[in-house]
């Protein structure tokens, strides 16, 4: 059975790209969110196996969304999507409960490695 994924990013471009990478690797994208608030709501509704989370989003950023999701489900598996230069924010997200991170620009192989690590 393929793993279900919730993709959170405020850019459709990024969501499309992540979805394409994961879909081609056999994952099922069960939902997308473009704000932190939506990410939390959709996590509550969908309970996906994996969440990819952008850090900078309107209406609650990715780090606060991680905190809220971890409150809902301490075992949530969240992969942060970060840009270069966001090290401090990534560290904060990891401390908030995110399991791993990938750095934009994405290389599909790195994304899939990170996903495998998160899903264990």
């Amino acid at each position: 059975m393929s793993h279900s994924v919730l993709v959170c990013d405020d850019a459709i471009f990024m969501r499309t790209m992540i979805s394409d990478i994961l879909t081609q690797a056999g994952f099922e994208i069960v939902g997308e969110a473009e704000t932190g608030v939506q990410a939390v709501e959709k996590y509550r509704a969908l309970h996906p196996d994996l969440v990819t989370m952008d850090i900078v989003m309107p209406d609650m950023g990715g780090i606060d969304a991680v905190r809220e999701i971890v409150k809902l489900d301490a075992s949530a598996k969240i992969l942060m999507c970060s840009a270069m230069g966001q090290q401090a924010l990534v560290v904060e997200a990891i401390q908030a409960g995110a399991k791993d991170f990938v750095v934009k620009p994405f290389q599909p192989s790195r994304v899939l490695e990170a996903v495998q690590r998160v899903l264990g």
């Binding site: 471009f13 069960v30 509704a45 952008d54 990534v90 399991k99 791993d100 620009p105 599909p108 264990g120």
Partner: protein, 631 residues
């Protein structure tokens, strides 16, 4: 991975973000103390940076990165930007747009080094001021706290990350996070905050209080990724908690992006279906077969619904176009030393995407005209007892069958005397004429090349501009109206069909041909009373409800020869564009039909009275008459 497939999506989304940035920047300029615009700007520029880096557009990503640094400094500093900073940001947005467009087209953009340096310089200045001030520096968050109490005895774990690991500090945090699951972590070396600096080389150590076997711990820590080596001093064992997962139900996003070409193709197919429906209805009516009629009725209904959905899918709110105008008006008024309050109304009104694309240039013309020629310089306004700031309004209003878009100003109005004098000189009006009604002024100023000498500047020449506007509008079945009063201002109103491709039309017969007249402009039909025809201003006319109705004989205009002779009773179709009316004399009215407008390139020398062509229900082609050209 093939990136080119994402280029269009990247371009479209980047442009949206840039447009939003322009809006936010204008908002910030109006109220520099507000905090929201800078947060929104930061996010949008950050998003562009991430997308550009992913596409491999290094130039765009670097410029966006610089802009992001400056915005970050402004955001954290919490201070209002001065005009120089705002101008710098405006210029940066323009440059981003240029480099993005160039990158997507595969062109080499001129590097933005000068701008990047300026951004860096301003950002550095802001940061230094901030640090020297009372604001505390932003400290990176501490690593996960070990369980309370003094350092417990445990094993020392040494980790070396791979040299090519990205964000080594963050990777170290992931390793520490894994370790914290196994047991209490303490005594992290080097100090946690130096892990996040560029000097961190990927070697760190910590004390772990865990009962796990060394090999298990090492194996677990390696799964944190990018770990080259783990070294542990002693050994015990610990459980590895695993969480439960539940499979979620499906729930996808409710919007998708569709290439406009697919929508065009769908619209054309739906249009063909409408034509087919018309033919089927004709066949069913002749055969009088109940079964056929039933099928025809069902297919007719479905076709209508399908067409409705496609039309709906193509509708686009006008803000997608309007949102770029505040920036335009701002730049223009600064350039021309005008003070302008620009308001936009009716932003949620929707139009067919293709129509919206067509009217963009026309609106730019009208707005430029208003700022350049309509609104007076502040000093002149003051002398005339007007407020220094001129008002400029762009408003969209939904009317019965159309959408009206108005550009109005409270400036000096069109100089009728100048227009009149010029018109007389060129013999366009009677030499004794003393005043010009609005519709005549519009017709005069919209003649190609017509311009009053003082109305020409580098920004816009009114005559040429309005001509261009009219041509574009007629192409999509729209019309233009003018209201102008001296010293009170000028208003241009465009009337546009809501949808482009399918419209209801009246079919008229002239000779052996049928012509379609869009119902948008048909006011009524009358029967021509030959005895009532009089001559007004050298042309035929009738008096209709105390008003002169000029007549156009379509047969004469089109040079039609009849095989069956002139019919005895002839209808007049009254067309109305704005408050101008004209009666079109035809041989007969065939009926109403939904017609599908086909692309139409008029051969050289064709009369300017056709706006397109269509295929009628019986499969025969017909030309569509342009009301604007006839009235």
């Amino acid at each position: 991975m093939e990136l080119s497939q994402y280029a269009e999506l990247f371009l479209a989304e980047s442009r949206e973000h840039l447009q939003a940035c322009n809006q936010l920047l204008l908002e910030w300029e109006r109220s520099p103390a507000a905090g929201e615009p800078v947060a929104g700007l930061f996010r949008a520029v950050h998003t562009i940076k991430g997308m550009a880096a992913t596409m491999g557009y290094a130039g765009v990503a670097q410029l966006a990165h610089r802009a992001e640094n400056l915005l970050d400094a402004l955001r954290r500093g919490g201070r209002a930007p001065d005009q120089a900073v705002l101008d710098l940001l405006f210029r940066t947005l323009d440059r981003l747009e240029q480099t993005i467009t160039a990158a997507v087209r595969g062109q080499h953009a001129k590097p933005a080094d000068d701008l990047a340096l300026e951004l860096d310089r301003v950002a550095t200045g802001l940061t230094e001021r901030r640090i020297s001030g009372p604001v505390p520096p932003i400290a990176p968050a501490a690593p996960p706290p070990p369980s309370a109490g003094p350092t417990q005895p445990g094993r020392v774990v040494r980790v070396v990350l791979r040299p090519d690991a990205q964000l080594k500090g963050a990777r170290a945090a992931v390793v520490l996070g894994r370790a914290a699951v196994l047991g209490a972590v303490s005594d992290v070396q080097p100090a946690p905050h130096t892990l996040e600096t560029d000097e961190f080389d990927g070697r760190f150590s910590f004390t772990l209080d865990s009962a796990g076997a060394a090999d298990d711990i090492a194996a677990d820590l390696r799964t944190a990724g990018d770990v080259a080596a783990v070294e542990i001093s002693a050994a015990r064992a610990a459980p590895d908690p695993t969480g439960e997962r539940r499979q979620g139900e499906l729930g996808r996003g409710r919007h998708v992006r569709v290439d406009i070409r697919h929508l065009d193709a769908l619209m054309n197919l739906a249009g063909e279906l409408v034509i087919g429906r018309g033919r089927l209805a004709g066949v069913a009516a002749r055969r009088q077969d109940p079964e056929l009629e039933e099928v025809q009725s069902a297919i007719g209904r479905l076709t209508g619904e399908l067409q409705g959905v496609v039309v709906q899918a193509r509708l686009t709110p006008v803000w997608q176009l309007f949102d770029r105008f505040p920036r335009l008006v701002r730049d223009l008024s600064r350039e021309l030393d005008k003070e302008v309050v620009f308001r936009v109304e009716g932003k949620d009104i929707e139009l067919d995407r293709a129509i919206l694309d067509e009217i963009g240039d026309a609106l730019v013309h009208l707005l430029r005209n208003a700022v350049d020629h309509g609104i007076e310089p502040p000093e002149e306004r003051r002398r005339r007892g007007k407020p220094r700031e001129g008002n400029l309004l762009l408003a969209a209003v939904r009317e019965r069958n159309s959408v009206a878009i108005q550009v109005s100003d409270d400036g000096r109005g069109i100089d009728r005397q100048a227009v009149l004098a010029l018109a007389k000189r060129e013999g366009l009006v009677d030499r004794n004429a003393e005043a010009l009604p609005d519709d005549l002024v519009l017709r005069l100023v919209s003649r190609p090349g017509f311009t009053t000498a003082e109305a020409v500047s580098e920004v816009s020449g009114r005559g040429v501009g309005i001509d261009a506007v009219l041509t574009r509008l007629r192409g999509v079945g729209g019309s233009l109206e003018l209201r102008s009063s001296p010293q009170a201002g000028t208003a241009f109103t465009m009337r546009l069909p809501v949808t482009l491709v399918v419209l209801r039309a009246l079919l008229a017969q002239v000779g052996d041909e049928r012509y379609a007249l869009p119902l948008t402009h048909v006011a009524e039909t009358l029967e021509l009373d030959a005895a009532a025809v009089t001559t007004v201003g050298g042309g035929d006319a009738v008096i209709l409800r105390d008003r002169v109705l000029p007549l156009v004989h379509l047969d004469r205009l089109l040079g039609v020869t009849r095989s069956n002779g002139m019919p005895s009773r002839r209808p007049v179709i009254v067309l109305e564009v704005g408050d101008r009316r004209t009666g079109v004399v035809v041989d007969g009215v065939v009926g109403q039909q939904e017609i599908v407008v086909k692309g139409f390139t008029a051969p050289q020398g064709t009369l300017r009275v056709f706006s397109g062509a269509t295929v009628l229900g019986d499969g025969m082609p017909a030309l569509i008459l342009d009301a604007g050209g006839l009235v």
